[in-house]
Symmetry: C2
Subunit: 353 residues, 2 copies
Amino acid sequence: MSSKASDGLNRRLVLGVFAALPALPALFDTSIADAQTAADPLPSWNDRPAKQGIIEFIRATTADPSSATFVPPEERVAEFDQDGTLWVEHPLYTQFVYCLDRVGVLAKEQPALKDREPFKTVLSGDNAAIAKLSDKGLFEIVLTTQSGMSVEAFAADVKTWLATARDPRWKRPYTELIYQPMLEVLRYFRANGYQTFIATGGSGSFVRVYSERVYGIPPQQVSGTEQPAKYGYGKDQMPMLTYEPKLLLDNLGAGKIENFWMTYGRRPNAAFGNSSSDDQQILEYAKAGSGLRLSMLVLHDDEKREYAYGPAQGLPDTKVGTFSQALYDEAKKDGWFVISMKNDWKRIFAFEA
Amino acid sequence: MSSKASDGLNRRLVLGVFAALPALPALFDTSIADAQTAADPLPSWNDRPAKQGIIEFIRATTADPSSATFVPPEERVAEFDQDGTLWVEHPLYTQFVYCLDRVGVLAKEQPALKDREPFKTVLSGDNAAIAKLSDKGLFEIVLTTQSGMSVEAFAADVKTWLATARDPRWKRPYTELIYQPMLEVLRYFRANGYQTFIATGGSGSFVRVYSERVYGIPPQQVSGTEQPAKYGYGKDQMPMLTYEPKLLLDNLGAGKIENFWMTYGRRPNAAFGNSSSDDQQILEYAKAGSGLRLSMLVLHDDEKREYAYGPAQGLPDTKVGTFSQALYDEAKKDGWFVISMKNDWKRIFAFEA
C-alpha cells in the first residue's frame, strides 16, 4: 500500500471512530493515559510516597467520571514553579546569570554605567563582591538589562545567550539542567488532560523564550514577574513593543497566586514549588480548593548529585531558594508532599546514565 | 455488538491509527477542517470579501505545511475583542448594566452610598441622569461594585445575574445577544488549530465567568482590564483572594496589546475588533507581523437588525463603541477588512429565523 493510500485509509478510519464516540477529549485522555500508565509514567522516581501520591492524584481526578474526586478535563490545571522546582537554581538563578552577562554588553553601549553601582561591581569581575550585591542591586540590574529592547529583540537575545552559556559546574547549557523526574511529571499530567502552567518568580518574558521547547509548556501558559512592554512606532512607523525598566507585576509570594488568578481565572488543582518566599501562598491556595488537591515541595537535600540547602531538616539556609522550617512544618500539617531529591529521585538529569 | 465491546474495538482502532501517523495535532487540524469546509464553515455570512478573506486566511496559514504562509499549529493565535465584536454593546456595555444593578445591592449593605455620587444618581433611577454619568463616575462604580468579594463570590454573583437579567430591547439573556457569524468564526479558527483569545476593554474577571460556556474560550484565554485579587485568610484561616477597588491593568487602546504580550507572549496572527479607543493598536500590531496576517473591524451599520453608530461612513458617533473615520481610513490603507453587519451577515443572532 502506498503511503498516500495509507493516509487516506487512516483518515477514514479515524473519522469513523470519531463519529462513533461521544467526545474527543475523553477519548484522548483515556487512550494516552492507558498507554503511559502501563509503562510506568514516572520511571525516574523511586517507589515511595511522593510518586504514589502523584499517581493516586491522577487516577482519582481523571479515571472515573462518576467519582466524587473526578475533575472535568477543561478544569484540569497544574502549576509549577521553575527555579529549584523544574531546574537548578544554584548558585544563582539562571536569569541573573544572563542579566550579569548583559551588563558587559550594555556597558559598551552606555559607558556611563561603568562608574555606576551596582554595574561597577558587576564589571569588576570580583565574584565575591558580586555575590554580596543586595536584592535591590540585583533587581536594578534585571530591570536595566531587560529593557530598552523590542520584545522580539529581547527574545532573540535570550535565545542566543542560552545557546552559548554554560553552567559552571556541569559545563552544560542551562536548559539541560532540568530535573528529569519533573519532566516526567509534566508529561504525565498532560497525558491525563491537565494543562500545565509555569508560575515563576523570575521574568515570564525570559521563560517564555524556551518554555515550549524545553518543558512543552506554551508561552501563554507561563506567568511571571513582569516589566511593562510599551506600545509605540519604530522605523518606518512600524508598530512595536519595547520593555521598560519598571516593575508591573511582582510574582513572588502572594503575588504568584494573585497574578495567576488575574491572568488565568483558575485555582490550580495541583501545585509544585520549593521556596518559602515564593511558593507558600500558591501551594496553600491550591490545597484549599474543593475536591482532591495536590501540593508538593521539592526539597534540595542531595549535596552530591545537586545541592543541599534550606533550613528544613537542618540543611543550611541560603539566599537563593529558601525553604524554611516553618514551610516544612506547614507542609506536614496541611498534607502537602515533600519531595526528597535524594530519596525520591532515581536520577536528576536526563544526561545521567 | 455490545456497547462495551464496541468501545474496546474503537479504542484499539484509534490507537493503531495514532501509531501509524506522525503527529496528533496535524491529524486533528486536517480532519476536522475538511469536515467543516465541505459544509461551508461560515453559513451566516454572505459571500463577499470579508467571508472570502477569512476563508483564504485559514487556507493559506493551515493547509500546506510547505507554503511560505503556513503557520505551525502551536503558533496559531487569534484574538477577539468582546463588546461590539462578539456581542451587543448598546445602549450600554453589559458589564455596566451588571455594575449598576449591583449598586442597589451594595446600598443595602452600605447605606452611606445613598448620599454619595455617583451612587446617588444611579439609585435615583433617573435614566437620563445615569446616561450622563462621566467616565470617571462609571469607572468608580465598576471598581466599587466589583470589589470587597472573594473571587468565587464575585463569579457566583455574575453567574446568578446573567441567569436572570434581560436585555431591554430583545428581552433575552445577554448571553443570547452574541453574533452568530462571529461564533462561526471562532469555531472555524479552532477547527483549524487556532487558539482563540478574548482581549476585552471590560473586566477579564467578568468575562471569564461565561467565556467557556458561551464562546468556547476557556478563562485562561481571556485577558481584560483587571482589579487586583488580594491574598489573605478568611474564616477558619482559609486562604482566599479578594478583589480590591483598584485598577491594576488597563486593557484599553495600547494597553490591550501591551497586556496581551505580557500575559501570553504572542503576537496574534488574526485580530478582530470594532472600536477606535479600544482595538486600534492590537489590530495594527497583529497586521504588522511577518507572514500572512488578518485584521478585521466590525462596523455597526445595521440600524434595523442591531444598531448603527460610529462616524465612519456618516454614521452617528456615540459614547459606547466609537469607530472613527480615522480608524476606517487606516483600515482601508493598511489592508484590514471592514465587516459590514448589514451587508456581510445573513443573520445576526442564533435566535433569528
